[in-house]
């Protein structure tokens, strides 16, 4: 595994990884990647992937049903440290 690829992966995952961390993680990740290569021994050319096993599809939430997932602004604000004028505050992106 190329060190630069790992750095890029860390950046994509929004993780702060130091060079020291990489020294530790790289051989461990490489060992894992080497192990999972055993899947290439199996011929799957004619097999479709399974993304989940419960065979359900197109599950809809009926309009007008009581929605317990809906939370009030007051409840949501309790969980965060920084809000202003009903908005969450993030770091500047651009």
């Amino acid at each position: 595994m190329d060190k630069n690829i790992l750095k890029k992966v860390a950046k994509l995952s929004n993780l702060q990884i130091t060079d020291n961390d990489l020294v530790e993680y790289k051989p461990q990740l490489e060992e894992t990647v080497k192990y999972i290569d055993n899947l290439q021994e199996l011929n799957t050319s004619k097999i479709n992937p399974t993304h989940h096993i419960s065979n359900v599809n197109n599950v809809y939430f009926t309009d007008g049903q009581k929605n317990l997932r809906k939370l009030s602004l007051k409840e949501l604000e309790k969980s965060t440290k920084i809000t202003a004028n009903k908005y969450f505050i993030t770091k500047k992106i651009l």
Binding site: S13, I17, N38, L39, L42, I53, V56, F88
Partner: protein
């Protein structure tokens, strides 16, 4: 009154006959937690606030929850510093179901951080100790639940399993651990790890208690689109109507397994034969492939699920992640990235299809599959650091059935010479929890699990 080692069903009888009140039972367990939790570290948060709840079917009995199950008013940490002070604004569906069935939440159990691991050592709140030998791990990631149930700091707990996280610690701690069919129990309000695999389930002292809790937490949930519709049977009734089964023994699951474990499984098979069950040798795809499928799918789903922890809307930011979570997020991101997707993620999902059709073929010939739960008994604390994917190796015998979404139970079948519990699993076909529970229940009635719990509780008197 001596309450030590009483099952949920036994405690319910005592409440119904008014021999004891639910408040007295609650206080009894709080007292035991205060006495023993310092050493075992099986609870992260204790809820001392007793609110009477007399509804059927639990009549005010305390139940403890793995700390990745969201509870309103009690903090939920997933054993990570990211969520150290997080209080969920809502209850998970299964928590609502437990409360509506007369349960009281006793506390939140320690676990591997984000359920990443099989030893409860990746917890940011310190490792849980195995009550049988405090220098050893109770297994994981539901190790806090199994340690608490084994040492009777709670009568029963709800854990979660992605691949082995209920069965493996149940085996290492000497409890009953039930992993239902994927979709049988709602995932809504449970901190997601591998969404196509995650499955909550009961951790108990008896198979009957497991059936009782599955009755309560099972069933479709409109808030979890992957929960499935057939209404579960009344397991408690089903399991007491004795049946005999054709049970398959997969030889691949006995490779590299400790001799003492194999010897005890053979003994257990003799018991099952005496109960009228028939045994057939079967062949299954080697579980070493399931390790790879699981490693890829789990890492990929973790990298996606943990992306929501940005510290903006709730909880702490991403600098609070521990090593294990960081490594898993990175590997998952790698496996999903352009150029590697087909080689890893898509390949893993096609092998998943192979594993499913492999089980489908076998279940045309047999009703149940029997195997060891784990290749070894409990490891010493600290051992996991020597392996880059310790969890996957410890869960090798659980991963194939989890990948296929099948139900399975781990039950205690005895002790090693050095007094460590041994577990055996019974895997069933899709949605066939009742056969597993039925078989396990009559095994317990016949053996009382060789009284191993009584042996342990001598070390943990009231």
């Amino acid at each position: 009154m001596n309450l030590l080692n009483k099952t949920l069903i036994e405690l319910i009888k005592l409440i119904k006959t008014k021999e004891i009140s639910s408040k007295e039972i609650f206080e009894y367990f709080i007292k035991r937690i205060k006495k023993y939790n310092k050493n075992l570290n099986s609870f992260i948060t204790i809820n001392e606030n007793f609110i009477a709840n007399n509804r059927e079917f639990l009549y005010g009995l305390p139940i403890s929850l793995k700390d990745n199950i969201c509870t309103k008013n009690i903090r939920t940490t997933a054993s990570s510093n990211v969520l150290k002070n997080f209080i969920s604004p809502y209850n998970a569906t299964i928590v609502e179901k437990i409360l509506n069935s007369g349960g009281i939440i006793l506390g939140k159990n320690n676990m591997d951080a984000w359920a990443h691991g099989s030893s409860t050592e990746t917890s940011d709140f310190g490792p849980t100790k195995n009550p049988w030998d405090k220098t050893r791990s109770p297994g994981g990631s539901s190790g806090g639940c199994t340690a608490a149930v084994a040492s009777y700091l709670c009568p029963a707990a709800i854990g979660t399993e992605t691949a082995g996280s209920i069965r493996q610690p149940a085996s290492w701690s000497g409890t009953v651990g039930m992993k239902p069919t994927y979709g049988r129990v709602s995932r809504y309000g449970i901190i997601a790890m591998g969404s196509s695999l995650d499955c909550p389930g009961p951790i108990t002292s008896s198979v009957e208690d497991s059936a009782l809790l599955l009755n309560i937490i099972g069933g479709i949930d409109k808030y979890d689109a992957t929960s499935i519709s057939p209404t579960p049977s009344n397991y408690l009734l089903e399991i007491n109507n004795k049946k005999t089964f054709n049970i398959g023994i997969p030889e691949e699951y006995f490779e590299n397994v400790d001799k003492e474990i194999i010897k005890n499984i053979e003994k257990a098979i003799q018991v099952l034969k005496s109960l009228g069950h028939k045994f057939t040798k079967i062949k299954l795809l080697h579980p070493k492939y399931a390790i790879s499928v699981y490693t890829i799918i789990q890492r990929a789903e973790v990298s996606s699920n943990l992306s929501r922890y940005d510290g903006i809307r709730f909880a702490n930011d991403r600098t609070f992640f521990g090593k294990e979570a960081k490594k898993r997020i990175m590997l998952g991101t790698y496996a999903l990235s352009q150029g590697y997707y087909d080689k890893y993620y898509k390949k893993a999902q096609t092998v998943r299809s192979l594993i499913i059709s492999d089980f489908n073929k076998v279940f045309k010939k047999v009703d149940l599959i029997l195997a060891p739960t784990t290749p070894t008994t409990a490891f010493k604390l600290g051992e996991f650091e020597k392996y880059p994917f310790f969890g996957e190796l410890m869960d090798i015998l659980n991963e194939p059935s989890s990948i296929a979404g099948l139900p399975s139970i781990s039950i205690p079948i005895g002790l090693t010479k050095s007094n460590l519990p041994i577990g055996m699993q019974i895997i069933g076909n899709y949605l066939n929890e009742e056969s597993i529970l039925n078989c396990a229940n009559f095994f317990q009635k016949e053996t009382n699990f060789f009284d191993i719990k009584k042996t342990l509780l001598k070390q943990y008197p009231d």
